[in-house]
Amino acid sequence: MAPLSIIESLRQQIASCEAQLQDLRQQLAEAQDQYQQREQDRWRQVTTNDPLTHDMTYGIHDDFRSEVFAALSQVEEEHPVSRRWPLDRSEYKRYGRQLIMPEIGLQGQLCLKNASVLIIGVGGLGCPAAAYLVGAGVGTVGLVDGDIVEESNLHRQILHSTVKVGMSKVDSARVSLSSLNPNVKIVPHPSRLTPESAISVIQPYNLVLDCTDTPASRYLISDTCVLLGKPLVSASALRTDGQLIVLNNPALPPGDTRGGPCYRCVFPKPPPPESVISCGDGGILGPVVGVMGILQALEAIKVLTQNAQRPLASASSTPGNMTSEPLPRDPPTLLIFSAYANPMFRSIRLRSRKPKCATCSAQASVTPEALNSGSLDYVQFCGSVNPVDALTPNERISVENYAKIRIEVNPFTGMTPSKDSHILVDVREKVQFDLCSLEGSVNIPFSTVSGTSSNATNGTDPGNEERGWVSALRKPSDKPIFVVCRLGNDSQLSVRKMKELGLDYGGQRWIGDIKGGLRAWRENVEPDFPDY
């Protein structure tokens, strides 16, 4: 009967098992990687450009395999069965359903097999995109991500599973993808892309998928792809909306007007930083981002196999070389997805490269030298939001002190604790307020607060609801108002607004915010308060 020691012992056992598990996962990832490398090496030992060495090697480089076999088949062949067909027996079986489609066929499959695709961001977009590209048999897939798997990722990032929480996203994805298709070589890049690393990371690949989540990374990736001549499939998603664009396709040098537009041609100016909303703040529906990621995989397959549909005579040109003579292609489009609109998809016709584009025009200022030297500051270009600091220390209260007010004497007014001693205003949006809230709090969403004009004679009509909340707070004029939100930013701006509206009666009444919001409340006062 020593419950405490039992608890402690169980904790230790769990910790030890978790450590073992973590270790095993690492070993598994490494073992799978090594196995793959060996398999890869077996089948493509040589990538020499010397045409005379082809038939001397055991594994002919895939680029040449079809050519070599075409040539050999004219002679009476006496070769081992394993060399007879351009794909392995298991590959015919595995890819059979797409091989029999005229859009792909044998040449298309060989294009995929010889191609390398870099997926930047292994989250809501990158997971489904990677799954379909690996499934389709793209030869090499690189994964770039510096994050680790979190529980809040799992509803949409389909390569990561519950047991992988805490693992790096790149390792987690590698394990899933290797079991999906061991023929594909997965190359891990377990760190965030930076201007200094972009060229060397992207260089070895034929095509890039932008599956990232910030404006700065979008401009960086697009610029680098233009400089290196790589086509780029870019997608994004937030809440119920998504966007998809195939950029720099064909990937011709800057200044060549026949090349496809880049991200800067479509969006020359980044959005103001305060308007940029992450999935963590704005929310995201799994299938919305999933659809966009899958469409990226689809566009990637189309780009990689576009040369396969050429007449056989010219099909021998190096697959994956997108910069060869441009073919007539569909004009570039921006696909807009709105899950709750009708129609859900809109396809916008884009123009070609912008004549004065900073990256892909003849007047381009973005150069490899500028990128490498770090003189292109993407974070500065896109701006950043400083934490809100709108109030003086006297207008703020810590969660610990607020907790005391709820149970002890109010340090500001000397009042004894009571539910009615103060007003607690929660300015999160209603849908969040409905998830969980502090007892006795009143919900006045920030959008309502910020949308209320502080000047009654202003032309914009404040509407009944908004006037309602102001007058409701005006009535019990002696009670202090505490404002809380999720993280402690909107609450400060709301306090400002309330004072502008005169709710503090020229300083007679205390209005202030709870520092750090409900996150701080959970961390320091009430651990059971839901974390969403």
């Binding site: 910030t214 937030l238 709105s338």
Partner: protein, 96 residues
């Protein structure tokens, strides 16, 4: 989103992503014709602040065709938005 009936003498305007959040609407009608160069000004009148906070970084389309009205020498400043046209305001979405 596809609005039911477009009154005569109007064009429809679609707001996506941040533009929809800012206006609180996904679509509305506006009187036609309007020269493309005056479009943002009209929107600023209806939604003070939208120019700086949203429109400055947006793509704009007329009848599913991208138009360039950014800067004094942009090619589509004199394009006339006519009755029955569909204009879309498309802010970049960057998360994923």
């Amino acid at each position: 989103m596809a609005s039911s009936k477009l009154p005569p003498g109007h064009f429809s305007i679609l707001y996506f992503a941040a533009a929809s959040t800012f206006t609180g609407k996904s679509t509305e009608h506006m009187p036609a014709p309007v020269k493309a160069r005056y479009l943002f000004g009209k929107l600023e009148q209806s939604y003070p602040g939208i120019g700086e906070k949203v429109l400055s970084s947006c793509a704009v389309t007329v009848n599913l065709e991208y138009i360039d009205i950014d800067g004094d020498e942009a090619p589509h400043l004199n394009l006339m938005i006519k009755e029955g046209d569909e204009v879309a305001i498309i802010p970049p979405v960057s998360s994923g």
